[in-house]
């Protein structure tokens, strides 16, 4: 709770610092503030404190996800030092908006009341609409912002309708009451409840980009500034998954909705992996790979096993670390190629900067789920949970799709290791080098010793 307040104040401070302080202090200010917030969260460990009259509950689940979100934001801020170095104005606003978005994300991990869920989603999204349009003169950035805004608000509308219908059937916004209602519905209102839950889940599926609610993600990923894309595919996705799982964790879902989740898993796995095969733009490839990973995460949801939270945590964190690293490499390669985002810009990377090429390979292998990397352990655990909770066919399909997925990651690796006389001349600042190396080493270590990270 105090962490939540600290981050909100930090955002406001950042705006003032943008007016008065030199630009050099902005990122350090943000990082120090976030680390302080992390410390405050640590002190709330194992206390299970409730705030706002049971509306927010910081339990183990919420705390561990909040910590991961804060650490990811720190990583992105370190990346931001170099990324925003060329921007002439409004640097502080970019950091501040990211902090505000993080506040929403933390609310999403620990809500106990649908009002907080709604506010969390909106606080998370509204700054992102602005951030997506961060390059003011770029047409593509504006288009991404507008598409994200319209489709995001559209989804919020459905989500709100769902909340209203849930309230109509249960007469409460409290998560515990709704969960109790699901096990013993009042006759005559089941249809309202079913529709309400359907729309609520649809709204959350939009945020995690599950098929058929994924259509925004490739366009928005491609048009937004790279740092914002990295933020969206890591922090936002992790928070949305935590929120999604928190909603259905202890609920006996009606049969129809269980069916819907299974169908969504199949569609997401299929479409994400198949469409990714024919992408040549790296950011679009990452968008479809993100959709594919959503599919694997949904598979972990289906059974709602007691182990699901820890699997979810491990998967989202390893996915996020690999994604952040890859987006840093992309930014550097894109600069060297004067704005091109096609995967051929990686060609000859091994010749010109071997360490970067090796880390890129590690990160891509982790996303593909090759043994000895963190991604493999994550995928393995998801499949295990799928089998244990009896979804054999879905798990088999997921394994098949994981094999298909290896192909498009390996294409990028092949580009990086194709010899070329003059590879891309990447200029790597020390901080970027640090971020990239951290991601590579973390992915490797978590693959060898998965016990380092647990819930």
């Amino acid at each position: 709770m105090s962490a939540l307040i600290l981050i909100s104040i930090l955002g406001v401070l950042m705006l003032y610092a943008g007016l008065m302080a030199p630009r050099k202090v902005l990122a350090p200010l943000g990082i120090i503030g976030l680390l302080a917030a992390l410390f405050l969260l640590r002190s709330g460990w194992n206390v299970n404190t409730e705030f706002f009259g049971h509306m927010v509950q910081f339990d183990g689940f919420g705390l561990v996800f909040s910590e991961a979100l804060i650490l990811l934001t720190v990583l992105l801020f370190v990346f931001g030092v170099d990324y925003y170095a060329r921007l002439h104005e409004n640097v502080a606003e970019q950091y501040a908006l990211m902090l505000f978005s993080l506040v929403g994300a933390i609310m999403l991990t620990s809500y106990q009341h649908l009002l907080i869920l709604f506010l969390g989603i909106e606080i998370l999204s509204i700054p992102l609409y602005i951030l997506a349009g961060g390059k003011r003169d770029s047409f593509r950035s504006g288009e991404a912002a507008f598409k994200y805004f319209v489709q995001g608000s559209f989804a919020s509308g459905f989500f709100l309708l769902g909340i209203a219908l849930l309230y109509g059937s249960c007469a409460s916004f409290d998560l515990a009451v709704i969960q109790a209602y699901a096990s013993a519905p009042i006759p005559g209102t089941e249809m309202l409840f079913l529709l309400g839950l359907f729309f609520t889940i649809a709204g959350l599926s939009f945020k995690v980009a599950a098929v058929p609610f994924h259509f925004w993600s490739p366009d928005v990923y491609e048009g937004s500034p790279t740092l914002v894309t990295a933020f969206m595919s890591t922090v936002v996705k992790t928070a949305a998954f935590a929120a999604f799982y928190r909603l259905i964790q202890y609920m006996d879902l009606p049969k129809a909705l269980d069916m819907m989740l299974v169908v969504m898993t199949w569609l997401t796995l299929f479409l994400g992996n198949i469409v990714a095969l024919r992408q040549s733009q790296f950011k679009r490839l990452m968008a479809y790979s993100g959709i594919a990973h959503t599919g694997f995460l949904l598979l972990a949801f289906l059974g709602r096993d007691p182990l699901t939270p820890s699997v979810l945590f491990f998967y989202t964190v390893t996915y996020s670390i690999a994604t952040v690293g890859l987006f840093v490499v992309l930014t550097l390669a894109k600069r060297a190629a004067k704005g091109d985002e096609n995967i051929r810009i990686f060609k000859g990377l091994f010749r010109s900067s071997p360490w970067l090429a090796i880390v890129t390979m590690l990160l891509l292998l982790s996303l593909a789920g090759i043994p000895l990397t963190a991604g493999f352990v994550a995928k393995y655990r998801v499949f295990l949970i799928g089998i244990e909770s009896g979804f054999l066919k879905t798990t088999a399909f997921a394994v098949l799709m994981a094999l298909v997925g290896i192909y498009y990651y390996v294409i990028v690796i092949r580009e990086a290791f194709t010899p070329r006389d003059k590879g891309p001349q990447l200029v790597v600042s020390p901080l970027n080098w640090l971020v990239i190396s951290f991601c590579g080493i973390a992915v490797m270590l978590l693959g060898l010793f998965p016990g380092l990270l647990h819930l």
Binding site: E122, I130, L165, E222
Partner: protein
């Protein structure tokens, strides 16, 4: 006074409120999906939010529970914030292409 308002709301059966709000919501959806003018799209988004407000108020009166009415205030607040951002994005778009037609937005594949 409050009791009078609630009695007045309850004069109309709950089903009518539900049907009316769903109707308004559908008009909002149709507007977002079919209209090409971005200003109209923004208005239709507002319509979707407000139809939910109506629904929540009706349920609130029927459950004799004020919490949903508080929720309505939060929705209004968020809707205002969203529209502010939406209009700002629109202005930016207008500067870049000098039009508010969504058909202009085709450089990224849908």
């Amino acid at each position: 006074m409050e009791q009078e308002v609630i009695t007045a709301i309850r004069l109309v059966p709950l089903e009518h409120y539900v049907i009316l709000s769903l109707l308004l919501f559908s008009i909002g959806i149709a507007g977002v999906v079919f209209r090409r003018n971005t200003i109209i799209i923004l208005m239709c988004l507002e319509l979707m939010f407000n139809s939910v407000n109506l629904l929540l108020t009706a349920f609130s009166a029927y459950h004799s529970d004020p919490r949903a009415q508080v929720f309505v205030f939060f929705i209004m607040l968020v809707a205002a914030a969203e529209v502010t951002v939406g209009l700002a994005i629109l202005v930016m778009m207008k500067r870049n292409v000098d039009s508010v037609d969504v058909n202009q937005l085709n450089r990224l594949k849908w």
